[in-house]
């Protein structure tokens, strides 16, 4: 299926970084169509609509989430609303409709937006950083996990080196192993939404869980009212349930989800107000440890309103991975020749290659600038 337009190059010949191995195919490259950056993206993500939408490799339970929401709301509109409109007010379906629109839009935006993925370091950058690390320490063996300490708002923060992305992670950035990307202001990887939650889509995620808790509570309340009205006049709940069985389904779904979703909304409201991420809260990064004085969160503005505004209403940062940009032809050739050296030096299974059914690293790298399946990337073999 993978028709490589490059010749298979002997790995031994790669020890010298000469451009000569790439010279013969050069005329072929210029005739090839230019590729978009999403097609050569190294992380485990899938792209739709020519790079406009990005999701994690496994969609997780996103179809289930969407399905549950749709089913419950449709049942609500079909079976409960007519009765309630007749007996109460026409605003009930209107409010339900608005909430439903908010929930679905925020869910889709959380799932399909780039959470704040940091592009991996270019080979030159990685080499420069390596040189700086080696200059300060011994280079005879690979040292233990590299960290760099910086002062942020008069507090010492340790920055870790990411071996996959070959750079020191900025503060609050974490590497998601499911998506194989470093994500800025990493909160968590949400399987319900099928994507990481990070700097760029946290506000969508928050608005999703808040509007969902309103929707669930609203439907629960309306269905309970519906059944109560039907059961009036001594007819009993069983009679009401027999008349409207769909309401029982909705009641069960809403009852079990409302507690967890309300709890999650409450938890995230606390995180927003203190400008924390789930990751930091779970690790206890800023809570007072071992009896030392409470260091406090260096990113917090120490004002609940400012914290909320900065997290939810702050400026929307741009996507750093430039999915729809075109891969520059000379750079793709250069990276092909330099990236071939890196697996040999590092000898680690870190460089995740797009496409390529073969588990070994070199042949897929050679095919990198060749033709790749143009549809979604197949799931990685491991």
């Amino acid at each position: 299926m993978n028709n490589c337009e490059y010749q298979q190059i002997d790995p031994q010949a790669l020890s010298t970084p000469t451009p000569t191995p790439t010279l013969p195919p050069r005329p072929a490259v210029e005739e090839e169509r230019t590729r978009r950056k999403w097609e050569v993206f190294p992380g485990k993500n899938r792209f739709y609509c020519d790079g406009r939408f990005i999701v994690a490799q496994q969609s997780g339970v996103l179809p289930l989430t969407l399905g549950l929401i749709l089913v419950t709301t449709v049942l609500f509109f079909v079976f409960d609303c007519p009765f309630l409109v007749k007996h109460l007010t026409v605003f009930i379906p209107a409010i339900g409709g608005v909430l439903f629109v908010f929930v679905v839009t925020s869910l889709l935006q959380t799932s399909f937006t780039d959470p704040g993925i940091l592009p991996r370091a270019t080979p030159d950058e990685a080499a420069y950083i390596e040189k700086q690390i080696d200059d300060s320490g011994s280079s005879t063996y690979r040292p233990p996990p590299r960290t760099k300490e910086v002062m942020i708002n008069q507090q010492v923060v340790k920055l870790k080196y990411c071996f996959t992305c070959k750079m020191f992670r900025p503060p609050r950035t974490s590497h998601c192993s499911l998506c194989d990307n470093c994500v800025e202001r990493f909160d968590h990887h949400c399987p319900w939404v099928g994507n990481c939650v990070g700097k760029r889509n946290y506000r969508f995620f928050y608005s999703f869980i808040v509007s969902l808790s309103f929707l669930t509570a609203f439907i629960f309340g309306c269905v309970a009212t519906h059944l109560a009205l039907r059961a009036q006049g001594g007819r009993g709940l069983i009679f009401a349930l027999q008349e409207s069985p769909a309401s029982a389904v909705e009641l069960v779904i809403c009852f079990f989800s409302v507690w967890s979703i309300l709890g999650l909304s409450g938890f995230h409201t606390y995180l927003v107000a203190s400008n924390l991420t789930t990751n930091e809260d779970i690790k206890g990064s800023w809570s007072g440890k071992s009896g030392a004085e409470d260091p406090g969160n260096p990113y917090s503005y120490n004002n609940i309103i400012t914290n909320c505004c900065s997290v939810l209403c702050g400026p929307m940062p741009p996507s750093l991975i430039d999915r729809r940009g075109f891969v520059p032809v000379e750079e793709s050739l250069q990276t092909v020749s330099t990236e071939m050296e890196l697996p040999m030096l590092a000898a680690k299974k870190e460089i995740n290659v797009v496409g390529g059914p073969m588990p070994s690293q070199l042949p897929p790298l050679l095919c990198l600038a060749g033709s790749l399946p143009s549809t979604c990337n197949p799931p990685q073999p491991d």
Binding site: L118, I129, M151, I152, P170, P171, L312, G314
Partner: protein, 143 residues
């Protein structure tokens, strides 16, 4: 366009001697700021003041992009009320400033850095992590 053509010609004709990466400065938190420390590799090529001025202006531009103020809150609230659908049709404030930054870098390259055999790469192309300064070999410029 004639200016960019000459820069690209230079890139193709001149050999790259080295690349210097100006790292981010995190002392004020996660806002995008770059270190103004003058790298030693550039000592022979450009004036320290000139370079620091460039980086400082860049830092100011990024601060403007990420500023929390009335207009950004308004944009945020409006976006929230429209279920964030306005991001599909409107350019955000950040994107507008990024365009300004791109123009600034282009200008700096044309006026100051290209004549000295240097090239600044827009940080957005490196994920806002570094300012890459490419140092070209001297001989091709007849210095």
């Amino acid at each position: 366009m004639a200016e960019t053509h000459s820069l690209q010609d230079m890139r193709q004709q001149a050999a790259i001697a080295a690349k210097v990466f100006i790292q981010r400065d995190y002392t004020n938190g996660t806002v995008c700021q770059f270190q103004t420390k003058f790298p030693s590799e550039l000592e022979t090529r450009i004036d320290k003041q000139q370079f620091e001025e460039t980086v400082r202006t860049l830092n100011n531009l990024y601060a403007e992009a990420e500023k929390l103020g009335g207009s950004s809150y308004l944009e945020g609230c409006l976006a929230c009320l429209t279920a964030y659908t306005i991001f599909l049709c409107m350019e955000t404030h950040y994107e507008k400033v990024l365009k300004k930054i791109a123009k600034f870098i282009q200008e700096q390259n044309d006026k100051i850095y290209a004549p000295r055999g240097l090239l600044l790469t827009d940080p957005i192309e490196r994920g806002l992590r570094v300012v890459e300064v490419t140092i070209f070999e001297d001989r091709s410029l007849g210095r």
